[in-house]
């Protein structure tokens, strides 16, 4: 049973919100206290984005909102009326990986994989921002993504490879 929908029907606080996720428009009634992360995972069944801490401390929930990387756990979904959200599922699929996803595979840039969707969305956002020039810059600007397996050296290698190729990581 979809708990969120059930309570939403009862709630007088719910707000009409139109939100595009990975190219599909969703017109929803959302309770104001629903985070963007919970909307994605619980209601839209997009479980690629992970809930590591739910408090902005780990980066596992990183998605792109209008191309900008943010922590979806600290975003209220109702504040994203009209927004265009891209999650890991929107970057590529198992049979058609985006360049950043492929680079993570090629560089063995994950162990358990829990932080990986956030790492990849964050890295794509970082290349789009265009402020990272060196390996140290990559480390600093990806510091908002914690990897408890410690796959950092290979994550940096994967991102550096793509940065050097001049690609942005999306298709």
């Amino acid at each position: 049973m979809d708990l969120l929908t059930t309570t939403a029907q009862k709630s007088s606080f719910a707000v009409k919100t139109a939100i595009t996720v990975n190219g599909s428009l969703h017109e929803l009634e959302i309770e104001p206290w629903t985070s963007l992360l919970d909307l994605l995972r619980e209601r839209l069944q997009l479980t690629g984005s992970k809930k590591g801490c739910d408090h902005g401390q780990c980066g596992a929930c990183t998605v792109l909102v209008d191309g900008v990387r943010v922590n979806s756990c600290l975003c209220l979904a109702v504040m994203h009326d009209g927004a265009d959200v891209t999650t890991i599922e929107g970057l590529g699929s198992e049979t058609n990986l985006s360049p950043m996803q492929q680079s993570f595979v090629d560089h063995d840039a994950y162990q358990c994989g829990y932080c990986t969707p956030g790492q990849i969305c964050s890295a794509v956002g970082m290349l789009h921002e265009g402020h990272a020039k060196t390996e140290d810059d990559i480390r600093e600007q990806l510091s908002g993504n914690v990897c408890r397996c410690g796959a950092y050296p290979n994550i940096v290698a994967a991102v550096k490879h793509l940065m050097a190729s001049g690609q942005e990581g999306t298709r």
Binding site: S35, G59, R69, L76, G144, N145
Partner: protein
């Protein structure tokens, strides 16, 4: 998180009217502090007024030579804005030393000013805390206080203001522009945040319902000689234990203008403009000057156990920041 109503502010007047009728309502900017605190039930607003449709997103030059930063400009957009990085590198560096890229992309200028302390007791509704629940006590004084204040503390509270951006704004001598049902006000940065005294639940001099509309920077940005030194437990994505923002203008080795502020030591960015006048202006830019100034600026500092190390760390950080500002120019 409690249930709450969500509304958009479509204008500053309607926002003020709504707030006047809702004592427990709060504004929301990026939400990176407020949503976090709501998840812990520390903040329990009955309504959120979303400011994001207001046109407060410009960074613009002012007739007086200064720069106005709209309250909704994100921390990232401020830090990387060409006017800011060229003329106020101190501010760019302080912002980029804080939080993570994702958080800076979301956090707004207004919200950063009004973020609340990271004192662990403040975050834990199972324990007393005078800031969260006035009159319940302050367990931090004899407890976990490693990150807390050494200056300007009160019997009631020893919390620190956690912002990096605000330390640079204090050193620059910014002005906070606000508007509310009683009209517009300009608040000098030194008067925006307050010391805890016997009302630690009040962080700033902003009144309920007043919106921060912009932060205005003065014409002098210390672009030639400034430094932001942040000491923390890890090199990135950690709050400051101590930070120092220092800006100088020098002529023939003598100091003609100065702004020095500390973070991580008090309930507000710690600056003393009078001491700068007396002990820095007209003096040679050397270690003797920094040492005399540091001693006066930190006079009366005292620790609470875990944070005693700050009594040694603060003086050397002030000296290092001033030395860097004088000799290395705009370096972090």
């Amino acid at each position: 998180m409690n249930n709450f109503e969500y509304v958009h502010a479509d204008g500053l007047e309607s926002a003020a009217t709504f707030m006047a009728g809702h004592a427990e309502a709060k504004f929301i900017g990026g939400g990176t502090n407020l949503v976090d605190l709501m998840k812990y039930n520390v903040e329990k607003p009955t309504a959120l007024v979303d400011l994001n449709r207001l046109s407060l997103r410009e960074v613009e030059e002012m007739p007086d030579g200064g720069v106005r930063i709209g309250a909704l400009v994100t921390n990232s957009d401020v830090a990387y804005h060409s006017l800011i990085s060229a003329r106020y590198p101190l501010l760019s560096r302080a912002i980029l030393a804080g939080a993570s890229a994702q958080l800076r992309n979301k956090a707004t200028t207004g919200g950063n000013l009004l973020q609340r302390t990271r004192c662990v007791y403040f975050y834990d509704t199972a324990v007393p805390c005078n800031k969260r629940e006035p009159g319940t006590g302050c367990p931090a004084k004899e407890g976990v206080n490693r990150s807390l204040a050494i200056l300007g503390t009160s019997v009631a509270c020893i919390a620190t203001h956690p912002s990096d951006m605000c330390v640079a704004l204090a050193a620059l001598g910014a002005t906070v522009q606000v508007t509310g049902s009683k009209g517009d006000r300009s608040i000098p940065f030194a008067e925006f945040h307050r010391l805890p005294g016997d009302q630690p639940e009040i962080d700033t001099t902003l009144q309920h319902g007043e919106v921060v509309t912009s932060v205005d920077l003065p014409a002098i940005g210390f672009a030639g000689h400034s430094a932001y030194v942040k000491v923390r437990d890890r090199q990135s994505y950690a709050f400051a234990l101590i930070s120092v923002a220092a800006g100088l203008e020098l002529t023939d080795g003598l100091i003609t203008q100065a702004g020095v502020a500390l973070g991580g030591v008090a309930h507000k960015p710690w600056r003393n403009a009078q001491l700068e006048q007396e002990l820095l202006i007209g003096k040679p830019a050397n270690r003797d000057t920094w040492h005399i100034f540091q001693q006066a600026l930190l006079a009366g500092a005292h620790g609470f156990g875990e944070n005693d190390f700050k009594l040694k760390l603060a003086p050397v950080t002030v000296v290092r920041a001033l030395e860097q500002a004088a000799h290395e120019g705009a370096q972090a």
